[in-house]
């Protein structure tokens, strides 16, 4: 759906060349929610804005839905942008227009529908985001979450195939964040919309994304399915992000298990395996004893997942590992 071929971006600031994005290759699949996470200045915002050319690339090719965006002329680019929705951290609604008129704006600009058709469409859109009764209010009269809903309705107005989310929940409180993420997941599911979102919160990625790219200093240092990246982070930046979401248990990084005897393994359960009584079964069958050193259980998007760090003793550890692997559990040996 979205392809980056060696896309890079540099700015000249006071005669100095600042690289915002190193040559990057990226593929976003149709219908997926792709998350980009990074600290501020990592280049994620630049990358997002390259997709609809709010930022001009310094080089490389960007292909969206078969169209070479980098080759579009001014008019072609406007047409293209009308088919790509975008929402923002600070909502960027027009204070001078009512909620209904904000939502109608992309339709008016496109100039393809009649007034009556626009009115009808706005009613549908406001119903979808649950703001029907606020149509005649001004943005200043709404809460942050409501403003972002207006932003979403506005972004969906022209029936785009792609939605770009620029830190869409960063200005919202945790509860409102949850609601907005839920709405995004819902429209992704129901409209088959491809969503690219950027954030600095791993939790946002965990809750809605299918795949994730981790950015650091203008480079995507790691990417893959959210469960892979989340449960087996490779790059230090990724590990730090994952750690941030685990409040007090930080099992995944460099634990010192010197006082503990036995073979130390980390088990990762995804999906059904999470709730199956595997551990007890395997322990009974193999006579292995285990003590739990650390653990976490949670959800990644719609999938349950768990991770346990165990110390195994009793002699048949390898057999136990084999059985666990056979049951679909990912086993990592931290200390043989």
């Amino acid at each position: 759906m979205i392809e980056f071929h060696d896309v890079h971006k540099a700015y000249a600031v006071n005669g100095q060349n600042i690289v915002a994005l190193q040559p990057t290759n990226l593929q976003v699949q149709p219908g997926e929610i792709f998350g980009l996470i990074g600290h501020s200045g990592a280049g994620k915002s630049t990358l997002l804005r390259l997709i609809n050319r709010l930022e001009e690339p310094s080089g490389g090719r960007i292909v969206v839905d078969g169209v070479d965006v980098t080759a579009l002329d001014a008019q072609g680019l406007r047409r293209f942008r009308q088919r790509v929705g975008m929402i923002f951290q600070h909502f960027n609604l027009l204070a001078s227009k009512t909620v209904a008129n904000n939502v109608a704006m992309p339709l008016k600009l496109a100039g393809e529908l009649s007034k009556a058709q626009i009115k009808q469409r706005v009613i549908e859109l406001l119903a979808r985001v649950g703001l029907s009764e606020h149509a005649d209010k001004y943005p200043a009269q709404l809460s942050g979450g409501q403003k972002q809903r207006v932003g979403i309705a506005r972004a969906l107005a022209t029936d785009p195939k792609i939605l770009l989310c620029d830190e869409a929940t960063s200005a919202l409180d945790p509860q409102t964040t949850g609601q907005v993420l839920q709405l995004l997941a819902e429209i992704n599911r129901e409209l088959g919309l491809t969503i690219v979102l950027i954030t600095h919160e791993m939790d946002v990625i965990r809750r809605v994304c299918d795949r994730v790219g981790v950015m650091d200093a203008g480079v995507i240092v790691e990417q893959g399915s959210v469960s892979d990246v989340f449960l087996h982070p490779q790059h230090p930046t990724t590990q730090r992000f994952v750690q941030e979401t685990e409040q007090d248990s930080d099992l995944s990084i460099d634990e010192n298990y010197q006082q503990i005897s036995g073979r130390i393994v980390r088990l990762t359960f995804v999906g059904e395996a999470t709730y199956a009584p595997l551990l007890g079964q395997v322990a009974r069958d193999t006579g292995v004893d285990y003590s739990i050193l650390a653990g976490r259980i949670g959800r990644i998007k719609d999938q349950a997942c768990g991770q346990l760090t165990l110390a195994l003793t009793g002699g048949k550890e390898l057999l136990a590992e084999q059985q666990l692997r056979a049951a679909g559990v990912h086993v990592e040996v931290l200390r043989p």
Binding site: N52, L54, L77, R78, R79, F80, R81, Q82, V84, M86, F88, H90, N92, L93, L94, A95, S96, K97, M105, P106, K108, L109, A110, Y138, P139, A140, T158, L164
Partner: protein, 221 residues
Amino acid sequence: MSELLINIDWYEIWQATLDTLLMLGGSLLFTVILGLPVGVLLFLVGPRQMFEHRALYAMLSFVVNVLRSLPFIILLIVMIPITVVMTGTSLGVAGAIPPLVVGTTPFFARLVETALREVDRGIIEATQAMGASTRQIIFNALLPEARPGIIAATTVTAITLVSYTAMAGVVGAGGLGDLAIRFGYQRFQTDVMVVTVVLLLLLVQVLQSVGDRLVLRFSRK
């Protein structure tokens, strides 16, 4: 009462008030018509804006600054030949409007530029992301969002114009200020002075409160 206001010719006061209002209305109209596009242009080519153009901005900025630093009274006199070409006369209401417009347009354009800069960049970005053309960005986003600021700028400009119209009396423009100078000041007719000044004060008050009300009406923040 009649002794207090012994020098007052109410018909003349009425005529002068009418002249002032005509000068004010006419020159305000042309100032807005000319100054708004200049202000938008100043904004667009300004530093870090959509059409940043250093040379053009520097040039426009220079012209605006020159016109703003010229004392209005000098401008009035310098403009006489040009005014005659434009309106056929340098006298009366018609003769006053060109120098008034030239005097206030740069001022108004600067205020418009400032009002536009107050518009959140994010709103421009959002409008661009919708696929808006430059024209659409200006008319559908920038100007509506800056409307309260532009109304406030118009109010300030109108009040500046009131004091300029008084000066325009010097070149034979007529109006309340002219009355105050010729009768009130030069002939020591204090009553005329007081009456004209009170009328000017009322005019300024009315302009300011109407402006404030409009700003409030269009502010949605």
